[in-house]
Amino acid sequence: MSLSVVIDIMDFFALPEVFHRELLKKVNIADRMNLRCTCRAFEKLVANSNAGYYESGKIAPTRDGRFFSVYLGDQQFNSMHLSEIGLDTFLQFQNRLFSRIHFNDFEIKMSEYISTQFIREFTEKFAIDSLHFSASTSDQLYRSVELMGDFPKSTHNLAIYDFAPETEAFLMIPPLNILQMYFIKQGTPDNRYEIPTAIFMYLQQNHSSVLASYVRMNSEGFLRVLQLCSNGTGERTIRFLKESLMVASWLRDYGVTEDSIVGDTCGEFLVIKTNIRSTKLRYRNCFILFSGFNWVDDWATTVIVTNFEGEQVE
């Protein structure tokens, strides 16, 4: 449709403000970028309007720490220089795209090159339902916890990877929806970091879901973990890795053996499922899946415990 055909073109800017607000909330980020190229009035409208609701967003540095990427709903921005100038330039650009935006999920991958102050300014116009942080150093972990305080209405998730925090760092983490800890790179099976049982039990009581790599635990400790989970309020999920031979030893301690079949009860344990790749038990309110479990091979078993019935996903 061209101007020569349409004689009666509406004066878009004569519309009431409520209309502009409603309309711009429905224009995605990519189209907002084009719209601001149209004229100064649209440029101003784009900058001063709510961009609406998006399922997800993310800010993350590249592996080499030279650049950073930002995902805002439908739009991805790449190759921005991870420097004070680069960050400020992007901030100014973002300020020209909306005055408010709402995300269901937003992930902040922390970096030593991205200051807390920048993240505060970057997220100033964000409403976030579920906020995820990823931290790979102690400093990043502390800063993540500090930033969580800026979003009291959001639920928080934290992924700690590639380093083992000190005990006091574990203790200062506020209640989370999901706490993930991946320390696989910390060493070989002989010297890798395993979360001590006491800390793991503290964490499982404070966070709805605790997903870890290896945990230092014996059969008594695991029984205590199950008791805490069974008594936990709300839905609780625990997931960690353990060598199959160690799991086999726990199960024998509880009276469950290679010969146990579905329906067998061993003390408070009930065998729900058993096959060559996994074993599922019930203990009080808990459902326990040993995924990838084998009685004789010493590979890693994923232990998943929930206090509700449902699919236990690895």
Binding site: M33, C37, Y53, D74
Partner: protein, 165 residues
């Protein structure tokens, strides 16, 4: 079937089924305030004046409400009204003939004045869809907007947009 008469700014009368008017927050409030739902009130004898809506626009609004009879009525400001909303085919065909014209503007303003949230949402979305995937110059041409930017300003905006994929 209870009929309520709406009177447009150019004094045209539109008898409308009571049930349809639940979609309009403004008219619903007037009906309550005028006690038109009371059995003792002769609703037919008490027309509702709508001084901000012309007859031809009100006719379109009623046509839209008739098609959407029984749809859930949206309440409050919902942030979920966003880029993901899909305009149904019937509504797309309904808006299309006057999409870029002042009639669409008047219909949208009427939806706002009458507080018909679903109509306002779909009307806004239909307009925002006209921007979809278009470049600045294409939007300018379609909406008859003059280019105010200098070549240097256009280049600066183009450079900023290069970050995106």
């Amino acid at each position: 079937m209870v009929l309520i008469t709406l009177v447009s700014s150019d004094e045209q009368n539109f008898p409308v089924e009571r049930e349809l008017l639940k979609q309009s927050g403004t008219i619903e409030t007037l009906i309550v305030n005028m006690n038109l739902d009371d059995e003792d009130t002769d609703a037919a004898a008490m027309p509702i004046p709508l001084p901000n809506v012309k007859g031809d626009v009100l006719e379109k609004v009623i046509q839209w409400m008739e098609h959407h009879k029984g749809d859930p009525v949206k309440e409050g400001d919902n942030e979920d009204n966003n880029a993901e909303i899909v305009v149904p085919q019937w509504d797309d065909d309904f808006f299309k003939p006057a999409m870029y014209g002042s009639k669409h503007l008047e219909l949208t303003v009427a939806a706002s004045y009458l507080d018909i949230k679903n109509l306002l949402t779909l009307s806004c979305k239909a307009i925002s869809n006209t921007f979809k995937g278009k470049t600045g110059p294409q939007i300018r041409e379609e909406w008859g907007v003059p280019n105010e930017f200098t070549p240097e300003e256009e280049e600066a905006i183009r450079k900023e947009n290069e970050w995106s994929e």
